[in-house]
C-alpha cells in the first residue's frame, strides 16, 4: 500500500516544473500522467533507456536466420527439383529471409514494448482518470502525512489546480 500525492495541472510545462522541483527536494522520482506525450521530460527526470531496440535487432536477426533455414532446410529435406534450378536457390530464399526477418522484428518489438512498459498491468497501479482527457498529473509517492504536506506545498506553488491523495493497492 503506497500513498501518492497527485497534482493536477492544466499546462504541461507547469507539471514538468513541479516534477523537477519534487525531484530536487528529495522525493522519490515522480511520474507524469498525461493525455499526450510531454516534451522535455528527459531533461527534468533523467534519461530513459529503453531496451526495445535490442529486441528489434535480435528479432530481425533471428527472423533472418530462421527464414533462410526454413527455406533451404525444407528444400534439402524434400529435394524437389524444379525448373532446372538448384535445390538451394539463393534469390528466392533471400526474399523469404527478408520477410521473416521483418516479421520477427515486428513481433519482438511488440514483445519488447510490452516487457519494458510492464504490460499488461496485472496489479492495480495509481491512475488519474483526468489525465486521459485534458489534465496533466504529477504523482509522487509519499510515506506519511508530513511528506504529503510538503509535496502539496510544492505542487500548489507550481500552479496545481487540484491536489489530492490516492492510495495504490499492492
Amino acid at each position: 500500500m503506497t500513498n501518492f500525492a497527485i497534482g493536477l495541472f492544466r499546462e504541461p510545462h507547469a507539471a514538468l516544473a513541479a516534477a523537477g522541483t519534487l525531484k530536487r527536494a528529495g522525493f522519490a522520482t515522480p511520474e507524469l500522467q498525461s493525455p499526450v506525450p510531454i516534451e522535455g521530460v528527459e531533461e527534468v527526470l533523467g534519461e530513459k533507456k529503453s531496451a526495445i531496440k535490442h529486441f528489434t535487432f535480435f528479432g530481425g536477426l533471428i527472423g533472418g536466420i530462421s527464414g533462410f533455414s526454413l527455406a533451404a532446410g525444407t528444400a534439402v529435406l524434400w529435394a524437389h527439383p524444379v525448373g532446372g534450378r538448384p535445390i538451394i536457390t539463393i534469390p528466392p530464399y533471400l526474399i523469404i529471409t527478408y520477410e521473416l526477418a521483418i516479421l520477427f522484428g515486428i513481433l519482438f518489438t511488440l514483445a519488447g514494448f510490452f516487457i519494458s512498459a510492464r504490460f499488461p498491468a496485472i496489479r492495480e497501479r495509481v491512475y488519474v482518470p483526468e489525465a486521459a482527457v485534458d489534465r496533466f498529473a504529477v504523482t509522487v509517492a509519499c510515506d506519511d502525512g508530513e511528506t504529503f504536506k510538503r509535496a502539496e506545498v510544492i505542487l500548489r506553488e507550481s500552479g496545481a489546480e487540484q491536489v489530492r491523495a490516492q492510495t495504490e493497492e499492492g
Binding site: 493525455p35 506525450p37 523469404i96
Partner: protein, 451 residues
C-alpha cells in the same frame, strides 16, 4: 459544440470521438444491415455456388486462366498500401497533417488485406487445401515450394497483415484507455482488456514512441516489398506482356496511388457520417490531392515506359500484346483507364479543386475504378495474346465474378463499419498534440468532466 476549429479543446475531441463510438443511431444500423446483407448475397452465396460447381462458375477458360479474382486480389492489396505505408512515412517525417486521418487509413489497410486474403481463397481451384501453402510439419513430410513467387506472396501478405494489425493496435492503446474511462458494462471490459492497463505515464509514452517508431521503420520496407512480390507473380513468368522488370515499381506506385485515392474516399465518408468535419478539413484534402497528383504523374510515366519498351523491343510477340492492349477487344477499358488515372487527376493541379470535397471524392472513386481496370487488363490482355497464335483466346468475366466483386466491396464496408464502433476512428492523442494545450484560466471554475 464549438463551431470554429481553432476553438477546440482537448475535452471536445475526447467527447466527440467517444460519442462516435458509444452513440449509435438508426442510420448506422440500417447501413450495417445493408452492407452485411449485400455481402451475404453477393459475395458468400455465389462463392458457395462456385465451391460446389467448380471454377467453371466464373468466366475463365483456356488460356484465360486468371481473371477478376486475381485482379481483385491485387487491387485490394494495392488499396492496403495506402494506410499503413503513408502513416509510417509521415510519422517518420513528423508531418502534422497525418494526425487526424491515419487511424482510419490504417484500418483501411487492415481490412483491405483481409478482403484480399478472401479473394485468394475464392480464386483457388481447391481452396480447402490452402493450408498446404503454410510451412508446417506434417505426416506427408511435404513442404511448400519456397521458390515460387506465390509463396513469397503468402509470406509477405501474412507478415504485412500481422504488422499492420499490431501497428494499428499499438497506436490505439492510449485511446483505448481514454475510451475505457468513459464507458460502462461490456464496453468497459473490452476496453480494459484492450488497453492493457495504460496509464499515460511518461515512461509509457516514451516506450510507445520508440516501439511505434521501430515498427514504422520496419513496415516501410515491408510494404514496398509486399507489392513488389505480388507483381512478381506476373513478372517471373516468361509470357510476353507480363515478363517486365518495370512491374515491381509499377505495382508499388499503383498501390500507393489507389490507396491514397481510397483514403480520400474514406475521409469524405467519415467527415459526413461521424461529424468529424472539424478534425478532417480542407487542408488534409489539399495535401492528399498533391500526393495524388504526384503519384498520377509517376504512374503515367511508368505506363509510357511500358509502352515504349514494348514497342522498342521489336519482338513480334511483345508488339502484338501491346497492340491488343491498346486497340483490341478491351481497348475501351484501356482508354477509360488512361482517362481516369492519367488525365483526370491533372485537375489536382488547381488548389481550388483539391480543397473541394465532393470533386475530390468523385476523382478518388474514378481513380480506383481506373486502377481496378488496370489490374484487370494486365491479366486479361496478357493471357489472351501469348506466344502461340493458335492458343489465343478471349476471357469475359461471368455474373458470378461480378457479383463477388461487388460483394467484396460490401465486405470491406461491413468490416469498416464494425471498426468505427470499436476503435476510435480518429486518433485522439495525436489530434490533441496538434492543438494548443489548454491554458490555465485565472478565475474560472474548472471545466470539470465533460458530458
Amino acid at each position: 459544440m464549438p463551431a470554429e476549429s481553432n476553438d477546440l479543446q482537448y475535452a471536445d475531441i475526447h467527447r466527440d470521438v467517444v460519442r462516435s463510438i458509444v452513440e449509435t443511431g438508426r442510420t448506422y444500423y440500417i447501413t450495417l444491415a445493408t452492407a452485411a446483407g449485400i455481402t451475404l448475397v453477393c459475395f458468400f452465396f455465389p462463392w458457395f455456388y462456385q465451391l460446389y460447381y467448380g471454377i467453371g462458375a466464373a468466366g475463365m477458360n483456356h488460356p484465360g486462366v486468371w481473371g477478376t479474382y486475381l485482379a481483385s486480389f491485387i487491387f485490394w492489396i494495392g488499396l492496403s498500401h495506402s494506410g499503413t505505408l503513408l502513416s509510417c512515412v509521415l510519422h517518420l517525417t513528423n508531418s502534422p497533417w497525418r494526425k487526424a486521418i491515419y487511424r482510419s487509413a490504417e484500418a483501411m489497410t487492415l481490412f483491405s488485406l483481409m478482403v484480399a486474403a478472401t479473394m485468394v481463397m475464392v480464386h483457388l481451384g481447391r481452396p480447402w487445401f490452402i493450408h498446404w501453402t503454410v510451412p508446417y510439419p506434417n505426416q506427408m513430410e511435404l513442404w511448400p515450394n519456397f521458390r515460387s513467387p506465390l509463396l513469397f506472396d503468402v509470406m509477405a501478405v501474412t507478415t504485412y497483415l500481422t504488422g499492420s494489425s499490431l501497428f494499428i493496435y499499438m497506436g490505439t492503446i492510449p485511446d483505448f484507455a481514454a475510451v475505457r474511462d468513459r464507458t460502462t458494462g461490456w464496453r468497459n471490459h473490452m476496453y480494459s482488456l484492450l488497453s492493457l492497463g495504460w496509464r499515460g505515464t511518461d515512461k509509457e509514452w516514451h516506450r510507445l514512441h520508440w516501439a511505434y517508431t521501430f515498427l514504422a521503420v520496419l513496415i516501410i520496407p515491408l510494404a514496398v516489398s509486399v507489392h513488389s512480390i505480388v507483381s512478381w507473380d506476373f513478372a517471373m513468368s516468361i509470357v510476353p506482356a507480363l515478363h517486365q522488370t518495370i512491374f515491381a515499381p509499377y505495382f508499388v506506385v499503383g498501390a500507393i496511388y489507389s490507396g491514397t485515392a481510397g483514403i480520400v474516399t474514406v475521409m469524405f465518408v467519415l467527415r459526413k457520417s461521424m461529424n468529424f468535419g472539424q478534425y478532417i478539413n480542407a487542408s488534409h484534402f489539399d495535401n492528399l490531392g498533391k500526393l495524388l497528383l504526384v503519384l498520377s504523374l509517376l504512374w503515367t510515366y511508368i505506363n509510357v515506359v511500358e509502352l515504349f519498351t514494348g514497342w522498342y523491343s521489336g519482338t513480334s510477340t511483345e508488339y502484338e500484346a501491346l497492340k491488343y492492349k491498346l486497340f483490341g477487344y478491351y481497348a475501351l477499358m484501356y482508354w477509360e483507364m488512361i482517362l481516369f488515372c492519367a488525365v483526370l487527376p491533372l485537375l489536382c493541379i488547381f488548389k481550388r479543386f483539391r480543397t473541394s470535397f465532393l470533386p475530390m471524392l468523385i476523382l478518388s472513386i474514378a481513380i480506383n475504378i481506373g486502377m481496378y481496370t488496370e489490374r484487370f487488363l494486365i491479366i486479361a490482355t496478357s493471357l489472351s495474346r501469348q506466344y502461340l497464335p493458335d492458343a489465343w483466346g478471349l476471357y469475359v468475366p461471368s455474373l458470378v465474378e461480378i457479383s463477388i466483386l461487388i460483394g467484396s466491396l460490401a465486405l470491406f464496408v461491413t468490416m469498416f463499419l464494425l471498426f468505427v464502433k470499436i476503435f476510435p476512428s480518429v486518433s485522439m492523442y495525436e489530434v490533441k498534440e496538434t492543438m494548443d494545450t489548454p491554458k490555465a484560466e485565472p478565475a474560472a471554475p474548472p471545466q470539470g468532466s465533460p458530458a
